[in-house]
Amino acid sequence: MLSKKPLAKLIAVLVLFAVVLSACAPATPPPTQAPTTAPAAEEPAKPTATTAPTATSAPKPTATTAPTATAKPVSNPPTTAEEVDSITFSKKTLVIYWHNRPQKDQDMLQSMLDEFNKTNPYGITATAEIAGASYNDVYNKINASIQAGVPPSMAVAYQNQAALYRTQDAVIDLTPFIKSKKYGLSEEDLKDYFPTFLASDANPQFKGETLGFPTQRSMEVMYYNADWLKQLGYDAPPTDWKTFEEIACKAAQTSGKAGWAFKHDASNFASQIFSRGGRILAEDGASYAFNSQAGVDTLTFIQSMFANKCAVEVPVSERNGEQNRFAKGDVLFTFGSSSGLPFYQAAVAAGGKFKWDIAMLPNTGKPAVNLYGASVSVFKTTPEQELASWLVIKFLGEKAQTVKWASATGYMPVRQSAKDEVIANFKKDAKWGPVADSYAKLFDWTQYAMVESPVAGYDPVRALIDTDLMSKVVTDPKADVKALLEAAAKKADAILKENAPK
């Protein structure tokens, strides 16, 4: 088809192109991290100095000498508030923040960071990047980056993920930064944060080190189709599991409809365990505890929902698939993150256009909610970059930013003083209707907050919970739930041991 001359020319051009590009490739401008982490990643996996965040342990003379302050070498990471105080920014610092929100949230986040970049007196430039579509994707990326020696400056991370990074000596304790007089948070500020939010970040596996700091929180809630519920003859969403099953199965009697959308998400499992008085991880953190009666009841419930054809399974390849099914009016109840509120709203507005609302999951007497929405961890890079990252976190937690972020995403703000303004924003916006009132209730529910598992290696356990427990009971109405739980708990404990800090 092509005669030989043009072909030869084409090959020559391509070769030239390829050579030029391969030569230029490393120089392409994406802001990558300075590979100062390479030595850190090669150190043995022992955690560095178990940092007692008290001022007395600092032998270095700092803080008193005001004018100089540049020549003193600060340890990496800084171990005391004084060391942090002594850090100055001698040159422009770049902070890269990895998160998992979709594009429109990325745009909002970046616009907030742009303001930070304009107003901060330290020459810090912060950029946000979507590192993955889910926390799990971000987690995988970070693990690979740590191995490759190029982690970001800061990233969203669940407590257990932060713990895993900590076993690789890749994230730092934020306590010195929080306590720093010059750069930290005052007592007053700290009190403004919701206490349960801050508490979840003190890590039990690392002697209470604070491995992350909250910029948002969300919780697992029950989304329900209020119009359909009324049609079925119920005025209020169910508060116990028996009624839930009853209503869901009644809804499923209509052909093509289902009462509940089941997701292959371990958080759904955890939420149900919490609501039945159980735990995922034992209180002492030494073993997994989901093989309790609460676990048995949860799996039995799922099993019977499918055996009686009251539930529909969202295929693994259709992530967030329950949302569209709900919005079409095919599913009565779904369990999902409160941060999904804007997406549900858009979907229902485009789809079934019915009245819908959120509620706590049913429970067995004691309310419990699965509080999640990750914190932000700071990676071990250089003291300046670490401090810069902390300042970005602090900025994002300030009232103005947390109000903006929460109002746009459906996350909860991290400051108590922000609560009223956010709720008012929701109420002002007509598209939210009754949901605005329910959003306000989220804050009341935080008192019932439970956290899944803050220990390293929980992510593989989440995968295990889906493949060995949830997937099995969905497809097999006769599966021995107790046996499955025992086997899974055993495997989970082995994973716990494998990933524990040495």
């Binding site: 490739a25 994406p30 990047e129 579509a133 490759a148 190029v150 992530r319 997406f343």
Partner: protein, 296 residues
């Protein structure tokens, strides 16, 4: 094309109708998924949510949402440093990766095959068997060490990682060698008598004659390189280094998880250009592939 006329008479009868029916059914099955992709890409979000199979006239009133395509590109995101939509970065990365791989495999195949066909070097058989042996090495076996190598060579998140491991195609070496060995010996002898060096003979006689085989090697490696997914997923980190396949999968689990119409638009933008390209280069594909299937 040979035809065993002994088989069936050429006039229409039940047998032939049946044959056509089966073939048409098979062809439809081959093509319908692509139609589904295109049709879904032209629906509104609302139609996707309510599973409206045909929202356009005559059963509905919506228009074809061609705007889904620019909307998909917008939703995929922007490359903040280059200020262009990320989709075009994905495209560029794929073009670079595939381009370098195609050029690399063609060049290494031609050179290696030439030695195997024309030059008598000590250990030639040994080297040929060595090349053969790599076919036995599965991707899974070298996956972990190659990933570790990428970290160690500091090629993580670079074009080197995307291209260098793929610059040799054993299939290409085989095909070219086969082809070279079928070039009439007289041409070689004539060239040698004229005092031409190997290089001269290769460049001015062998390569021009081997154009069909070169096209086959190039086209097949091009198609195979577009399929690269697991490797780029493991060795790239930033959004702007993704290739199209990875970009699509990431979109699928992100915004595309509920906006099916945008997902299908993205898929269409990957699939349709290749199909059009195939339409115009069909002969090269089928003839080239056919040649590889025949023994002897």
């Amino acid at each position: 094309m040979n035809n065993p006329r002994a088989q069936l008479p050429a006039r229409l009868d039940v047998g032939r109708i049946l044959i056509y029916a089966v073939l048409i059914l098979g062809a439809l099955i081959s093509v319908i998924p692509f139609l589904y992709m295109l049709l879904t890409s032209l629906k509104t979000y609302g139609s996707v949510v309510v599973d409206n199979f045909w929202p356009w006239p005559p059963f509905g009133t919506e228009a074809f949402q061609w705007s889904n395509y620019p909307l998909a590109i917008e939703t995929i995101g922007m490359d903040k440093n280059w200020h262009i939509p990320l989709f075009f970065r994905y495209l560029m990365n794929s073009v670079i990766m595939s381009g370098v791989i195609v050029v690399g495999t063609v060049v290494t195949s031609i050179l290696a095959a030439y030695t195997f066909a024309y030059i008598d070097i000590p250990g030639k058989n040994f080297f040929f068997i060595l090349v053969l042996a790599t076919l036995m090495i599965p991707n899974d076996l070298t996956l972990v060490p190659k990933v570790v190598m990428v970290y160690n060579f500091k090629w993580y998140n670079t074009y080197q990682a995307l291209t260098l491991p793929f610059l040799v195609s054993v299939f290409g070496i085989f095909l070219m060698r086969q082809f070279f060995m079928q070039i009439p010996r007289d041409l070689y002898d004539a060239a040698r008598i004229d005092g031409a060096s190997h290089l001269r003979y290769l460049a001015s006689v062998v390569v021009p004659i081997s154009q069909p085989a070169v096209m086959t090697v190039a086209l097949l490696n091009f198609i195979w390189s577009l399929d690269n997914f697991r490797w780029p997923l493991l060795v790239t980190r930033d959004e702007n280094m993704r290739v199209l396949a990875v970009g699509l999968q990431q979109f699928w689990v992100g915004d595309g998880s509920t906006q099916t119409q945008l997902l299908m638009a993205f898929a269409s933008m990957i699939v349709v250009p290749v199909l059009i390209f195939y339409f115009f280069t069909q002969k090269n594909f089928t003839e080239g592939i056919a040649k590889t299937g025949i023994k002897g």
